[in-house]
């Protein structure tokens, strides 16, 4: 069974440019998470989806970040415009319910120059 798939693995962009990340969760997982991970830190939640509904986006900087999960499967996370401080690893995870673990993708490492 394929795990959580994210793309791209790496992205380098200039500041003020837009960028998008894509996540394909494990088949059948209705919960999808986007986390931000700075170097040496633990992942921090940006947004959580239950199917296609964003149920926890309190930590998402809505002035520049947006996310969508059309049809409750794949999800995209967008930053527009990117800032130098957005350089980090963006992790996607999915789970199938309250009593199951969350499985993580390999992440997208974003570098803003």
């Amino acid at each position: 069974e394929a795990g959580v798939v994210q793309s791209p693995r790496y992205k380098i962009i200039e500041k003020k440019q837009p960028v998008a990340f894509w996540c394909n969760p494990i088949s059948g997982h209705n919960t999808l998470y986007w986390y931000l991970q700075n170097l040496g830190q633990g992942p921090e939640l940006l947004i959580r989806y239950e199917n296609e509904e964003a149920v926890d986006d309190s930590q998402l900087p809505k002035d520049r970040f947006s996310a969508e999960r059309l049809k409750g499967v794949d999800s995209t996370l967008k930053i527009q415009p990117a800032e130098l401080g957005d350089s980090a690893v963006y992790l996607c995870a999915s789970s199938s319910g309250r009593n199951t673990e969350a499985f993580f993708g390999q992440g997208t490492r974003l570098t803003v120059v």
Binding site: N30, G42, R48, E50, V55, G97, R98, Q106, G107
Partner: protein
Amino acid sequence: GESVGLHLPTLSVQEGDNSIINCAYSNSASDYFIWYKQESGKGPQFIIDIRSNMDKRQGQRVTVLLNKTVKHLSLQIAATQPGDSAVYFCAESKPSGSARQLTFGSGTQLTVLP
């Protein structure tokens, strides 16, 4: 605010020795605690979990201990191997809607020396 923190940012152990990684948590509402292992360039990988109504759980070469009185969690790795070198995160979880809210600590870098 809510937080999950680790006592030590780095830990070095000799191959074959036992490793102990500690974690403090602050949210009494968390009912589930998880240890994740993260190797360089990879996402966090589940190692072992423990529910708040337990104080010990054993897996293959790993044991998690939970002390709710002092809000302390530890991960013990027996006979540490080079492949155990990674960053280890504790995370606390509580029910949120039909899923769970997962909060991570800042991690401990474990280095296994030959």
